[in-house]
């Protein structure tokens, strides 16, 4: 007997049992089910949720691989810097090396594994308890989480945060498709507020910077935004191309604007993610950046102000540093928590970009605002949609009104006919 028929027999055996969802979840990864249409149309297009989620994961894989190398590179670069040697990043020279890869893989892959294992176990438990199939939402969330946390996040913290995020952020609302807040960002927010010392500061962004702090071989772990927020922008040694290609410290997956851009283009090409949200979010960020630049130029703010560093940071560079690009491409476009109407998507995206840069500049403790901006707009997305949909409803009401006003001819004839039938 072939594998296919063996598995089919198992599936039949489990049917109706408690463990059926767990078995089916695994089975459907090997084989798409033998389910046929039973109501409405008799044919269906090929796309399903697994394929959709898989496409997003494909767009994330290059970012993850880059993140692994960069984790190693930043560590060794910081060690060099502590010894007074300033490294010039070069892709094949000192970036793609076994040394960097091994160091990066050793630190990043455990984050990926913990995120997936813990998250999926929670999903499976809920599916079995509630008797529904395991939905694919976590496939993307599980990949996003390790990419948006600092490299040295303790694994137990990550596990606790994932449980919190999946249960409170998603399952209590009814699971995939029903949640209000992006689960990956809920996990990030939980980490940020529960363990702030591990999630911000000038140490956490480079591997071992925390452990070595205060010692003779202490290394720096500061991000570009961190430098700017402390008014130490002039001490930075990163060039614009470093920022664009991603040879800078930061959360695991957020640094390479180039790869994120390519991932975004791939998602737009495959029609999986909304280009409207991406374009309007970039526009929003640029507008806010320009406003701040203008304010700094006009001298409204003293150079000694603690906001000056970030306010005078050229507006377009905001897109290259921090998690803004990553957030716009992979998190703002989450269809469940974002706006669901095309018009709404423009508004929703714009404010994500706008508020992200605003929080960046005005929040000295933690110079990163993307995740807060997206969570905030997640909350407002239904409101935006409400007004967009109301416009359609009002149009319908007006049409009704217009046809009632037109009573004259048509109505008269209708009355006549009615009289005839009575």
């Amino acid at each position: 007997m072939s594998l296919k028929s063996n598995l089919h027999n198992l599936r039949e055996k489990y049917k109706g049992k408690k463990m059926a969802p767990a078995f089916n979840a695994l089975h459907t990864f090997l084989y798409t089910p033998n389910e046929t249409t039973h109501s409405g149309g008799h044919i269906r297009a090929v796309d399903d949720l697994k394929r959709t989620m898989n496409t997003v994961i494909m767009a994330l894989v290059p970012v993850l691989i880059f993140g692994i190398f960069n984790a190693g590179y930043q560590h060794y670069a910081a060690v060099d810097a502590a010894n007074g040697i300033i490294r010039q990043a070069s892709l094949f020279g000192n970036f793609i090396t076994w040394e960097n890869f091994l160091m990066g893989a050793w630190t990043v892959l455990p984050l990926v594994i913990v995120s997936y294992v813990v998250g999926l176990v929670v999903e499976f438990i809920f599916a079995v308890i509630k008797g529904h199939e395991v939905e694919e939402g976590y496939l993307v969330t599980g990949m996003l989480v390790p990419l948006i946390v600092p490299i040295d996040t303790p694994l137990w913290m990550l596990a606790v945060a994932v449980v919190f995020g999946v249960v409170i952020g998603k399952e209590v609302f009814g699971g995939t498709g029903m949640n209000i807040l992006n689960p990956a960002l809920t996990i990030r927010a939980f980490l940020f507020f529960a363990y702030p010392t591990w999630m911000s500061g000038d140490k956490v962004w480079v591997h071992q910077a925390v452990e070595k702090a205060g010692g003779p071989d202490a290394i720096s772990g500061e991000t570009i935004l961190g430098f700017l927020a402390q008014g130490k922008g002039s001490e930075m040694t990163y060039s614009v191309s470093d920022m664009f290609f991603g040879f800078i410290p930061g959360s695991v997956g957020e640094t390479s604007t180039l790869l994120i851009l390519l991932g975004g283009l791939f998602l737009i090409f495959t029609k999986i993610a909304s280009w409207r949200i991406m374009v309007s979010a970039v526009a929003g960020a640029l507008v806010m950046g320009l406003i701040f630049n203008g304010a700094a130029e006009l001298g409204w703010i003293a150079e000694t102000s603690k906001f000056y560093g970030l306010m005078s940071f050229e507006f377009w560079k905001h897109l290259l540093v921090g998690g803004l690009a990553f957030g716009i491409v992979y998190m703002a476009t989450d269809p469940v928590t974002g706006s669901q109407t095309d018009k709404g998507k423009w508004i929703y995206g714009f404010f994500i970009g706008f508020i992200s840069v605003m929080i960046r500049v005005f929040n000295p403790a933690y110079p990163e605002g993307v995740f807060l901006a997206i969570l905030l707009m997640n909350v407002f997305a239904p409101t935006i949609d409400h007004y967009v949909v109301r416009a359609n409803v009002n149009k319908r009401m007006k049409r009704l009104q217009a046809s009632a006003d037109l009573a004259g001819g048509a109505h008269g004839k209708a009355k006549e006919l009615k009289a005839e039938t009575v």
Binding site: N24, T32, G40, D48, R51, T176, K271, D342
Partner: protein, 450 residues
């Protein structure tokens, strides 16, 4: 005078097995049947008993809520079986046909000289009223309400459906008579649409407002056309009739007989020689299916087209409203890594390793597999690309699912029928049963508001 309607949003589903434009006479069926599921929302009250002899056009039952609305036998013969389901609900009436056919004779009517009341009475008692449907609710029209307009779509865009230009050839007289009669029943216009650049006999009709429609499916669905021509507002009613049913109405007016004959397209990739057959409403499908032959044992037979038809078997009977019968392969098999491997032989509206966007004119051999499991609504913005109505489809579906009557009304449920959601259902990533959701929503609204 004609007006052009151009539809941009939509999707043409090109399938293998289009019916060749040859019409054969189907073998006479021994047994004819009326399937009561065809008449949504009608509670039947029988007029004849099992074993009774009936003529073609003789009433078999009436609508309990509207007693003068009669439903008639397509042939003369003996009512041999009344098939009942749970709680003795009548499912099917089977009539064993006589060798020679006898018809109930009605008075012929010249529409120009007849009164509204005369026409209405004739249609109701002859059984032809069942061909007139109304929106809102997509049910058989309520004869007590005067519709603001009547819509007839002479343009079929659903996959593999019968070519209306072809099956209406030579029926000018019947169509004109029926249109003339219908025009007396409405306070507004009779809107007739034809495909742009097609050769439809409907173009020559008088007393109509002609529209030339172009664009992908669902351009041919009457719901799309209503939305573009004269959308339904709350409290308004429009009627819709399909052209092949107009032919039967027309023949009744001209000859006084209810003639259930109709030309049917037998199509689909499981049919060896897809072509047209002349047969009657209620005929056993096997009488023409096996004349064309099937090339597989494991196929699904559909009374209607692949997007809106109902499942049947070769021993089933041609539905009351159908002029298409489709046979496509069943998809009851597993597919290894079906969810992530590149796909070339199925249709997709995305480009996520699916390549149907490269070959928009290719004909596909789709089966009945769902290509994935049922999920909650996740993706947004996709339905709108194939949904040309000025309605938010996702929001309306959700309103129906949560049974929010106000929201359903405000978002435009009055304007739609389940078939309008057949294309969004086809592309749905979450494999949600859109047509069923809309049908249940309409039924609820009808029950609560009427």
């Amino acid at each position: 005078m004609s007006k052009d309607i151009r539809i941009k949003k939509g999707l043409n589903i090109n399938l293998i097995g289009e019916a060749e434009k040859i019409t054969s006479k189907a073998v006479l069926s021994n047994v004819y049947a009326i399937n009561l599921q065809d008449f949504h929302g009608i509670t039947p009250k029988m007029l004849v008993k099992q074993g009774a002899e009936v003529k073609a056009g003789q009433p078999l039952f009436f609508n309990k809520d509207k007693e003068d609305m009669l439903f008639v036998s397509p042939v003369s013969g003996e009512l041999v079986e009344v098939v009942r389901g749970a709680r003795r609900r009548i499912l099917t009436l089977k009539i064993l046909a006589d060798k020679s056919q006898e018809f109930v004779e009605h008075q012929t009517i010249v529409p120009q000289n007849a009164s509204t009341e005369e026409i209405k009475t004739l249609l109701l008692k002859s059984g032809c009223w069942s061909f007139i449907k109304q929106r809102p609710y997509d049910i058989i029209a309520n004869p007590d309400v005067t519709p603001k307009a009547i819509f007839i779509s002479g343009y079929a865009t659903s996959p593999l459906s019968a070519d209306l230009d072809y099956i209406l050839q030579g029926k000018e007289k019947e169509l004109q008579a029926a249109i003339g009669a219908l025009a007396k029943l409405t306070s507004g216009k009779v809107h007739v649409s034809v495909g742009k650049g097609s050769q439809s006999v409907l173009e020559a009709m008088s007393g109509i407002e002609l529209h030339r429609v172009s664009g992908p499916h669902p351009a041919g669905l009457v719901g799309t056309q209503i939305n573009k021509i004269d959308p339904i507002n709350k409290g308004e009613v429009v009627w819709t009739v399909t052209p092949q049913d107009l032919v039967i109405i027309g023949e009744l007016l001209l000859t006084g007989k209810y003639n259930a004959e109709r030309i049917v397209a037998l199509a689909g990739s499981s049919v060896k020689e897809p072509k047209y057959y002349a047969t009657k409403i209620g005929a056993e499908i096997a009488t023409f299916l096996y004349a064309s032959g099937v090339n597989t044992e494991n196929f699904r037979l559909i009374n209607g087209d692949v997007l809106t038809g109902s499942q049947t078997t070769p021993n089933g009977y041609l539905g009351h409203y159908n002029s298409t019968v489709t046979a496509i392969p069943e998809g009851d098999d597993y597919e290894l890594f079906g969810w992530n491997k590149p796909v070339f032989d199925k249709i997709s509206t995305t480009r996520s390793l699916t390549f149907s966007w490269l070959t928009p004119n290719k004909k596909y051999d789709l089966n009945t597999n769902t290509n994935g499991e049922h999920r909650a609504f996740v993706v947004t913005g996709m339905y709108e690309k194939v949904f040309p109505l000025d309605i938010y489809p996702l929001q309306l579906l959700k309103a129906c699912m949560v049974k929010d009557l106000d929201e359903m009304e405000q978002l435009g449920l009055y304007e739609v029928a389940p078939e309008d959601f057949s294309l969004t259902e086809f592309i749905c990533i979450s494999k949600q049963p859109h047509q069923q959701i809309i049908r249940e929503g309409l039924d609820l609204l009808y029950k609560e508001i009427g």
